[in-house]
């Protein structure tokens, strides 16, 4: 547009040139906006590049034609205005220079010869060049527009990817969190209801245990770690409640290292092991069994053992279901402590299974 402006300034008065160019720009904006609306409606952004290039070229030619025709109309209008102001206008632009010393007859002949140079084919070619140059404008306009759109889209895709991976991580974490089995809660409530008549003191105790257990499970979400002391208090609440369901089928005792009470552990980690022990061993044994919870502290590690009556089943059958709780706990340990923490479940001897957790003590020198 600027080049055409300068070209015009050379030929016509600056005021008219500016007016004509403002109109050109206005037409250009109008045409490209119509084009943009169309592109949006047809959703060209999503097209593959080869298809897009063909379409853009074609569209640019059409736009160039529209722009060219409108522009020529403007030029004709501008020229006719100029001619009204100065009838010799055309002559001053396209005619030969007025040369002194040539007689008017000669001058007229030269003028006619000059005008005769503007044959229809030459006019046609110049019109065509008009179209082509406008077409080139629109091609570059499209190139910029689509380049911007592609960048924008690439950025959106990137953002979308980030969001997705963040939500996947969130889901993973919340899936890893242990929660109290609803089946257990309602069984406990039902048992307590029965206890109210048979042993009201025990019923009242059981309500306290259930409350503590629920409170812990609601609150523990906020903490990454709790003291072993607190964790074991919840385990005791849980075993107390299981004992009213399982009665004489469940025996349990604790063998704890006093020094380990304040060591921090991931919440529900021992509870999950104990729940697993009940679900997969005591529950399946008509005559019940025993659960022993042990803690041992040494210089580098806290060791926690949950032992129960029974044997690990071979890899077949239901063993996979047991895996979920254990694998989740293992994953939580890995996220918190890296490779230093371990969780293993193995047969201790012919009638006991032992789940052991090893948690590294925090380096106090740091």
């Amino acid at each position: 547009m600027i080049t055409s402006f300068f070209a015009m300034v050379m030929l016509i008065p600056p005021g008219l040139a500016i007016l004509a160019n403002v109109i050109f720009i206005f037409i250009g904006v109008l045409v490209s906006h119509l084009y943009r609306l169309y592109v949006k409606k047809k959703n060209w952004k999503t097209l593959k590049i080869p298809k897009l290039v063909v379409r853009v070229l074609f569209a640019s030619i059409i736009q160039g034609a529209v722009q060219g025709i409108l522009s020529i109309m403007v030029i004709v209008a501008v020229f006719s205005i100029a001619m009204k102001a100065n009838p010799d206008f055309l002559q001053t632009i396209f005619g030969p220079p007025q040369i002194d010393g040539i007689d008017p007859e000669m001058q007229k002949k030269i003028s006619e010869a000059t005008l005769a140079q503007f044959t229809p084919s030459k006019i046609f070619i110049s019109l065509l060049s008009f179209l082509v140059s406008f077409g080139v404008y629109f091609v570059s306009w499209s190139a910029l527009y689509f380049a911007y759109q592609y960048l924008q889209r690439a950025r959106e895709v990137e953002i979308e990817k980030w969001k997705l991976s963040a939500s996947v991580k969130d889901a993973e974490l919340s899936a890893l969190k242990a929660q109290i089995n609803p089946h257990f809660i309602f069984n406990s409530l039902n048992n307590i209801r029965s206890l109210v008549i048979e042993d009201s003191d025990r019923a009242r105790d059981s309500i306290t245990h259930l409350s503590d257990l629920l409170r812990f499970s609601i609150q523990f979400d906020q903490f990454e770690k709790v003291s072993l002391d607190k964790e074991l208090a919840v385990v005791k609440d849980y075993l107390n409640l299981e004992a009213i369901q399982l009665e004489e089928r469940l025996n349990y005792h604790f063998d704890l290292d006093k020094g380990a009470n304040e060591i921090e552990v991931p919440p529900m980690i021992v509870q999950t092991l104990v729940e697993n022990a009940i679900k997969h061993s005591i529950n399946e044994l008509p005559n019940g069994g025993e659960i022993i919870v042990e803690s041992k502290l040494n210089h580098e590690y806290l060791n926690i053992y949950v032992k129960n009556t029974g044997q690990l089943k071979t890899k077949t059958s239901k063993n996979n279901r047991r895996g979920i709780g254990i694998n989740n706990s293992r994953e939580r340990l890995r996220l918190l402590y890296g490779q230093k923490a371990t969780l293993n479940v193995e047969n201790l001897n012919e009638h006991m299974v032992c789940a052991s957790i090893k948690i590294p003590l925090e380096d106090k020198s740091l």
Binding site: P182, H183, F184, I185, F186, N187, L189, N190, N191, R193, S194, L195, I197, E198, I244, Q245, L246, E247, N283, E284, L285, P286
Partner: protein, 240 residues
């Protein structure tokens, strides 16, 4: 109604028994803490109704029903087990969630009582065999049904199993056709050939077939060829 309470938790059984005391129609005949114990009690006591916990150590409530030849009325009780009960979407089935609401218990008991009364009116001449008023428990993969024998059109051999045709369903059961023949009432169920037992009440029409045999069309659309030997027997049964 003679009633058996099956639940692994003693406290839960006691709670239910206390609740049931208020219903005159219900007599607690016994209780069981496991499926194996329940199996013995069912044979011994022949209860009209079982309150059945689903999750129990060892075998679960459904396994008890699968092992029973003919199942009495069942009201399931469960602490939290919606998934298991979804298996029953095709059957009107009563279940209670623990702790049990008294009103819901009353509703379930009344419904079962009506059903049992109706059954007793229909079945006057009971012998040892399964009659059309008996119901069986059928489990096929994830789905479960309580089916009255009167609704079954056809039993058919499929390998080591037997396919049961009723309504629009064709589940398989593990009993053999020979066993079923020995247990089913021969006034209603007829062994048409080596592969099939049909329910005579479901016959739509009968056509003579090759060399003196018969073809039977059932109301469900099945076509049964009666073997020549059985054709004689069939004519014998059907003639006056």
């Amino acid at each position: 109604m003679k009633t058996l309470v099956v639940d692994d938790s003693r406290l839960a059984r006691n709670e239910l028994k206390r609740l049931l005391k208020e219903f005159d129609k219900v007599q607690i005949a016994g209780e069981a803490a496991s499926v194996d114990e329940a199996l013995e009690k069912v044979v011994e006591l022949k209860p009209d109704l079982i309150f059945l916990d689903i999750q129990m150590p060892g075998k679960n409530g459904f396994q008890l029903l699968e092992e029973l030849e003919s199942v009495p009325e069942v009201i399931f009780s469960t602490a939290y087990d919606e998934h298991a009960l979804k298996a029953f979407e095709y059957n009107a089935l009563d279940y209670l969630v623990k702790p049990v609401q008294k009103e819901r218990l009353a509703g379930a008991v009344a419904k079962v009582f009506d059903k049992i009364q109706k059954k007793k009116e229909q079945a006057e001449n009971e012998d040892d065999k399964l009659t059309i008023n008996d119901q069986v428990f059928v489990k096929d993969g994830e789905k479960c049904w309580f089916v009255q024998l009167s609704e079954i059109r056809l039993f058919e051999v499929s390998g080591n199993y037997t396919t049961v045709y009723f309504d629009n369903s064709k589940p398989m059961i593990t009993r053999t056709l020979n066993y079923l023949e020995s247990r089913l009432d021969d006034k209603t169920f007829f062994r048409a050939n080596r592969q099939q037992i049909i329910n005579l009440k479901w016959i739509e029409r009968i056509e003579p077939w090759f060399s003196g045999s018969l073809r039977i069309y059932l109301k469900g659309g099945e076509e049964i060829d009666v073997s020549r030997r059985q054709t004689l027997k069939f004519k014998d049964i059907m003639s006056f």
